[in-house]
């Protein structure tokens, strides 16, 4: 069906392009003068009119037809007085029966009738859809064809159409943001209507599976199950470990690259380090589980420490490795943009290179460097796969990096992976966590981007 429609649209567009093109040539011969626009623009003009409205009509109909079909098929069943909660289930059963999946009630008269009704109405819809599309595009084609005259400026309209298309495309980014905020807020507000926001932000006990077991009327238990403090502490603990790895290595790398390294060293080492940023996070997660965690365990064992097999330390270390290039390449850019005159002034005073770096360049580049740290922190907080695979799944309020601890992102995945029970506070809590994460990273990114931008403007 979809393929036929696509072919239909394409052939219609090509045909109408040819019509417009040849009409323009005809006008040229009849009037012995040139039309205002080039011949092809008349072709585009008709093609746009014959296809675009039809596509819009098609999309509108196919968004709503499911609703109509369902109502029509179930109209008999409604009159029999069926509970609204059973309607969804029933309709899925009808669809499955139609698709040849045998169910326990496939022989039921009601179902058999409904299946035949479903087949009938879908056929009606499909046929009428094709007819409506053909009629509307032919109508628009006829009108636009008649409009082509020697003094008709088709180019202007085609260009306007293009501009509107471009504008709509640029709005998608905003739509995505609105979509994110809407979907997160909607579920979060519903969540906070069941669980007080104070309990969520400052509670110290996170055990959503417990809230699922008890029934919803027992609110005392729900309130105690959604305290997100252990998640925040775990997130920051792991991010802190990661920053302890990535800040010294990343910053020293950046300094060496921009101040000491010869250009051939720079040209080979820099891309290799940036490979670290391009490796998928699932690879780091695997690396942490299979190599780093056992290594830390055996190291801890040899000095008499009891390290859990899923430790915050392993996840944090690997995350730190992942973040090195984020710190190093941004700091590198920032350090390189410190004006040469500052360096030369310092050398003229007799300072060595390292003294220049420590006393002049780093202070001058500090805002930008801190911006790069903030971006790295936001990356660490939002990182999911490493912690899901290596950091542990059960909430644990601890500052000991050798124990397992969980993070915001891990809990989102744990709650939403697989089948979710709809409308339960457990499912909604994942969206509340998502919103918290979104707000945290948004603030960090916003500050970091501001700082970096302000800083680079200062030296331009």
């Amino acid at each position: 069906m979809g393929l036929i429609l696509l072919l239909l649209f394409i052939s219609y567009a090509l045909g109408s392009f040819y019509l417009g093109y040849s009409k323009s040539r005809k006008v040229r011969v009849l009037n012995e003068g040139r039309p205002i626009s080039l011949d092809k623009y008349y072709g585009y003009y008709i093609a746009i009119w014959s296809v675009v409205p039809a596509i819009i009509i098609f999309s509108v109909i196919s968004i709503f037809d499911g609703f109509f079909i369902k109502n029509y098929v179930l109209s008999d069943l409604y009159s029999l007085g069926i509970d609204s909660s059973e309607v969804e289930l029933l309709f899925t059963q009808i669809e499955n029966t139609r698709n040849g999946i045998k169910l326990f009630n496939s022989e039921d008269v009601l179902i058999v009738n409904a299946v035949s009704k479903l087949n009938y109405i879908e056929n009606v819809f499909n046929v009428s859809l094709v007819i409506i599309i053909l009629c509307s595009s032919s109508l628009f084609l006829l009108f636009s064809y008649r409009k082509i005259k020697i003094d008709f400026d088709a180019r202007e309209i085609v260009e306007k159409f293009l501009l509107i298309t471009f504008f709509v495309c640029s709005l998608v980014a905003i739509l995505v943001t609105i979509g994110i905020i809407f979907s997160l807020l909607y579920e979060t507000i519903r969540f906070f209507s069941q669980v007080p926001i104070f309990d969520f932000l400052f509670g110290t006990n996170w055990s959503p599976q417990r809230a699922f077991v008890t029934d919803a009327s027992d609110t005392a238990d729900i309130e105690n199950a959604f305290g997100a403090i252990p998640l925040f502490s775990g997130t920051f603990l792991i991010a802190f470990i990661a920053m302890c790895v990535s800040i010294p290595i990343g910053l020293l790398t950046a300094i060496y690259m921009s101040e000491y390294a010869k250009s051939n060293v720079r040209n080979t080492a820099k891309p290799i380090i940036e490979i670290l940023a391009g490796i998928p996070t699932v690879v780091y997660g695997f690396f942490a589980v299979i190599t780093i965690a056992p290594f830390i365990r055996s190291m801890g064992g040899s000095i008499g420490l009891d390290v859990s097999s899923e430790s915050a330390l392993a996840a944090g270390l690997v995350m730190g490795i992942m973040i090195i290039p984020f710190v190093s390449s941004l700091s590198d850019d920032v350090i390189s943009s410190v004006p040469q005159s500052l360096r030369e002034g310092s050398y003229a005073m007799g300072a060595t290179k390292s003294e220049t770096i420590k006393k002049v360049i780093i202070p001058a580049a500090l805002p930008g460097i801190i911006g790069s740290f903030l971006l790295a922190v936001s990356r660490a907080i939002g990182e999911t796969m490493i912690v899901v695979m290596a950091a542990g799944l059960v909430a644990n309020l601890t500052a000991n990096p050798l124990e397992a601890s969980t993070t915001i992102t891990t809990q989102i995945v744990v709650i939403l992976i697989g089948d979710q029970e709809f409308d339960s506070p457990k499912t909604m809590s994942a969206f509340a966590l998502g919103l918290t994460l979104f707000v945290m990273t948004l603030i960090l990114n916003f500050i970091a981007l501001r700082v970096v931008k302000k800083y680079t403007e200062k030296y331009e």
């Binding site: 471009f166 980014a173 690879v283 695997f286 299979i290 999911t384 796969m385 995945v413 979104f438």
Partner: protein, 427 residues
């Protein structure tokens, strides 16, 4: 200057120069550490995973009897042969390869040396050679995943027997088979064509490769046109005002939003509101393309900005309209940069796992998907799933999946570098 102060300043200088040397040394250490991490990561994964690309086969002898005669296969079609019940026939024939083993429990252990699908493999062999079957045939069938691991040397025999999945008895049979030269390696072609499986020797990447392919096609189809057109509007046509500033800030922030938030968006909007089918490449593709969009817009805008104004002015001067100038002259020059950005964005989307977990692309799916509307997984998700399996053989497979994933990423990045080198004009 007296000699004392000279001495002091000399010592001072020495100290400062030492500090200088130390500082430089720290830099070298930092870079070496970063490079060593890259090296360890790659060698670790390659050394763990390369053995998944070949598999162990064991030679067995099959004797046809009165009931199962080679002649009857000649008249049968392939589907008819596949429908035959040759299970007990195959089993008996495998037993008769080991005439010394008589106890029933031992026989069960023998059958565990072979892949669980030995019957199918024998049928496949019969299908291939049905016109020239002798009364006895020798063929290779796959070993079970445990024997496979033993033969690859990934399995330590020092572990006490009760904690091993392969018993001493099975090892002795295996050693006997090796002594008779009946065990061999072969390139593991089924690994690339099969779907996932609970049996490690049957699990393959085929399903997830196709799933990733469909997902990436959708990402490309959605994010490239929207990204390109959006960037053209923002860079060439929009007037600078609050609204376009807002769009710009928006895009920059969107590029830094954690990927899991896009998963929540996909779950909340695409699955729950629009009721698109769960676990499909379609939903995965839409979700990932929203994530890729900012990357493409930013790259395209940068390359549009680098086209010098003289190109635009030249076109305008000979009477082209603004749209014609942009579409005929500026965009073609900026296209290589935009395509490079798109390829890099798609490479990132290919390695992305977290959002796909939330929209249900983590299900255990045996069938290889045939369209973007079928439930499927993707390459990194498959690696994640296998990593969760306890069996030893899956560790090798996880590494192999990651090797494939990394090779695709390297390929994509090389293509991007090639396009940049070949087509990008420096002004």
């Amino acid at each position: 200057m007296n000699s004392n102060s000279l001495k002091i300043s000399n010592e001072n200088l020495k100290r400062r120069l030492n500090a200088e040397r130390r500082f430089k040394f720290y830099g070298v250490i930092a870079i070496s550490l970063a490079l060593i991490f890259v090296l360890i990561l790659f060698t670790n994964i390659i050394s763990k995973g390369y053995s998944a690309f070949y598999r162990t086969l064991i030679e067995i002898k099959i004797e046809f009897n009165d009931k199962v005669q080679p002649e009857i296969f000649k008249q049968m079609s392939e589907t008819e042969i596949n429908k035959l019940d040759l299970y007990s026939f195959s089993k008996k024939n495998i037993y008769s390869n080991f005439p010394n083993i008589e106890k029933k429990s031992d026989k069960k252990k023998v059958i565990k040396l072979f892949s669980i699908e030995f019957e199918e493999e024998i049928k496949t062999y019969i299908n291939k050679n049905k016109n020239n079957l002798g009364n006895t045939i020798n063929l290779y069938i796959s070993a079970s995943d445990d024997i496979d691991q033993v033969h690859k040397g990934n399995y330590s025999r020092d572990i006490p027997e009760e904690r091993r999945r392969v018993s001493n008895f099975q090892l002795s049979i295996y050693d006997e088979l090796v002594g008779q030269n009946k065990v061999k390696f072969e390139f593991n072609l089924p690994f690339f064509s099969r779907g996932d499986s609970r049996e490690a020797e049957l699990a393959g990447l085929g399903g997830s490769l196709i799933g990733s392919f469909f997902t990436m096609i959708i990402v490309l189809l959605l994010s490239f046109p929207f990204g390109l057109f959006g960037a053209i509007y923002l860079e060439e046509f929009s007037k600078r005002n609050r609204f376009t500033d807002f769009i710009e800030i928006n895009i920059n922030n969107l590029a830094a939003v954690p990927s899991i938030v896009f998963g929540l968006l996909g779950l909340g909007i695409l699955l729950n509101t629009f009721e698109l089918p769960r676990s499909t490449a379609l939903v995965g593709g839409i979700t990932l393309s929203l994530m890729t969009l900012p990357t493409i817009i930013i790259a395209t805008r940068a390359s549009l900005r680098s086209v010098p104004p003289s190109i635009r002015e030249g076109a305008l001067a000979v009477g082209a309209s603004k749209v014609q100038t942009v579409m005929h002259h500026v965009v073609p020059l900026a296209l290589p940069g935009s395509i490079t950005g798109t390829i890099i964005g798609i490479a990132r989307a290919l390695g992305e796992t977290a959002p796909l977990l939330l929209i249900g692309m983590v299900a255990f799916i045996v069938d290889v998907p045939s369209s973007p509307l079928d439930p499927s997984t993707s390459l990194p998700v498959q690696a994640y799933l296998w990593n969760d399996s306890a069996e030893r053989a899956y560790e090798e497979k996880t590494s192999a999946a990651i090797i494939i994933l990394l090779s695709f990423l390297i390929l994509f990045n090389l293509i991007a570098v090639f396009i940049r080198r070949k087509f990008e004009t420096k002004w």
